[in-house]
Amino acid sequence: MATKTVGAEAPGSVSEHLTLDDRIALLRYMLLMRGIEERAMNLYRQGKVPGSFYDGFGQEAVSVGATYAMAAHDRLCILHRDLGGHLVRGVTPARIFAQYMGREGGITGGRDGNVHFGDYRLGCVGMVSMLPDMMLVATGMAMAFKLRGEQRCAITWFGDGSTSRGDFHEAMNWAGVQKLPVIFVLENNQYAYSTPTTSQFAVDPVERAASYGFPGETVDGNDVEAMFEATRRARERALAGEGPTLLEAVTMRMHGHAAHDDMKYVPKEQVEEWRQKDPIDRQETRLREAGVDTAPLREEIKQAIEEGTQEALAGPMPDPDTATDRLFYEGEEPLLLGDGNAPWSGFAGGQS
């Protein structure tokens, strides 16, 4: 049986490893994620964001909490509902808006769209659309860490729907049989596009972990501190050579799959029920009860977002003449993930 970590309803901190500043930082990143995605959605409506638009409204705690537990030298494959992970790693709002708008200043310089990016200088591999391919990439990074005897850990996210694909299995089995330092975060937001989990699997996939030889743990995905703590412990296990962990973050996709999706297929009550569990409200309440005035923080973030938007809007679109450039890398020195400096993730334990 998979173990369960119920997210603390108590105002007190869920993790002794979080200082009050850390707990405020967690709120900041969640607010930043939501604010950026809401602003981007407006830009999309104004026709300034090409293609489609995806967001992670209501799931902010999953990527923010988990990423906050990772160290600078750890490596990440962040997914499409997990913008917060990029923010924790240090990607600025301006570059994210530029990314959405396909501008030269975006992380991919307009070559890939929306959340399909990762700043490799910050230790992140940009996701591909094919789900959950990145599970194998994360497994391979962990394999390299173990082969070289490094105290490092890899982490990746993926949704309930993607657990039906073969790569889920090949990654889980590979990581289990080689006992690799990798953390798999299953983001169970109840739907895969329009498909409910009932047509995706007969048994909650967290139960599969045991049959691959490692623990699976269900976490309250709307409690950012619970996500942090569960991930921190999983990372401790990884660094101690105890192998992978599957964390099932139970949450809800509060918006459509993408901008065009009106989500008719989701019962109103279900959305209402989850609105009560909003991860940002919960963390803000906690901090208020701890005596923190969050108003200035909200103000600061509003400004950061507005500045980022303007900076991005001022930036140029990519030069068409560069469209065929840089298909192959022919430089002398290898260009590696996390070259340059990944900022340290902010939490003290992260350095270990």
Partner: protein, 316 residues
Amino acid sequence: MPTMTYLQAISDAMRSEMRNDERVLVMGEDIGVFGGAFKVTDGFVEEFGPNRVMDTPLAESGIIGTAIGAAVVGLRPIAEMQFSDFISCGFDQLVNVAGKMYYRQGLPVNITVRLPSGGGFSGGPFHSQNPEAWFMHAPGLKVVAPSTAQDAKGLLISAIRDHNPVVYLEHKHLYRRVKGEVEPGLYETPFTARVAREGTDLSIITYGAMVHTALEATEDLDGASVEVLDLRSLVPLDEEAILASVRKTSKVLVVDEANQMCAAGAQVAAVIADKAFEDLDGPVRRVATPDVPIPFSPPLEQALLPSVDRVKEAAR
């Protein structure tokens, strides 16, 4: 005759044949209640029920593999990939199990694999690909790619009825942009080429979305009379129609939207260079997408996909 969009014609083909033949079912991700990512199966589950309009798990190998199993015991599955790009995840089942079964074992695999393909709308590197050449290079698969609403319907009905695995490429950019008269009821379109416009000075040989680009580019090309051949079927490839057109015009431009290397256009050009050399009085020119992934940002994407202007240029 009623006029329909290319997308409506695809829906009409499936709906008509599903009413006509209870062995036919559609399988795919989000095609039921949601009606599919592009609403091609909108209203289907209401009419045919969840057994014949099956929302599958997110598993492309599973979709192709189970469709093969269902086919060899008598069903006629239409397997939809949400985007053609995702066929990479079902590639093995398609080329190795479906493609080789009849040749090896004498057991035909009656499946139709629908691939919403092509770019032009900032879909980015994973929602814009044109994978047809991979399947032309995998013996045992038929490959078709309609450019008009009329053919979209007729080719799909033929594909569903064909006893063999048929890869059906439906171009996303044509879904709502292309309208046309479509015969009501059931009809089959043969897997042969179609002359989209008669001409005597130059043959443009193409298929899918590029048929429209070619027609537009040469509507008035300094008064030149340009023939546009719409291949419609890539496997089988209608070599006779290709050679006949070349014989007539002696000048050729081959256009496809896919990355140029080893594309369908390369095969067409090779066939001409081998079998119609004596009829040519100039090089076999090609226009295609350069060999890079399809970028997301409009200026980059537009710089790569064959445009009306690039085709005009090349046709001069």
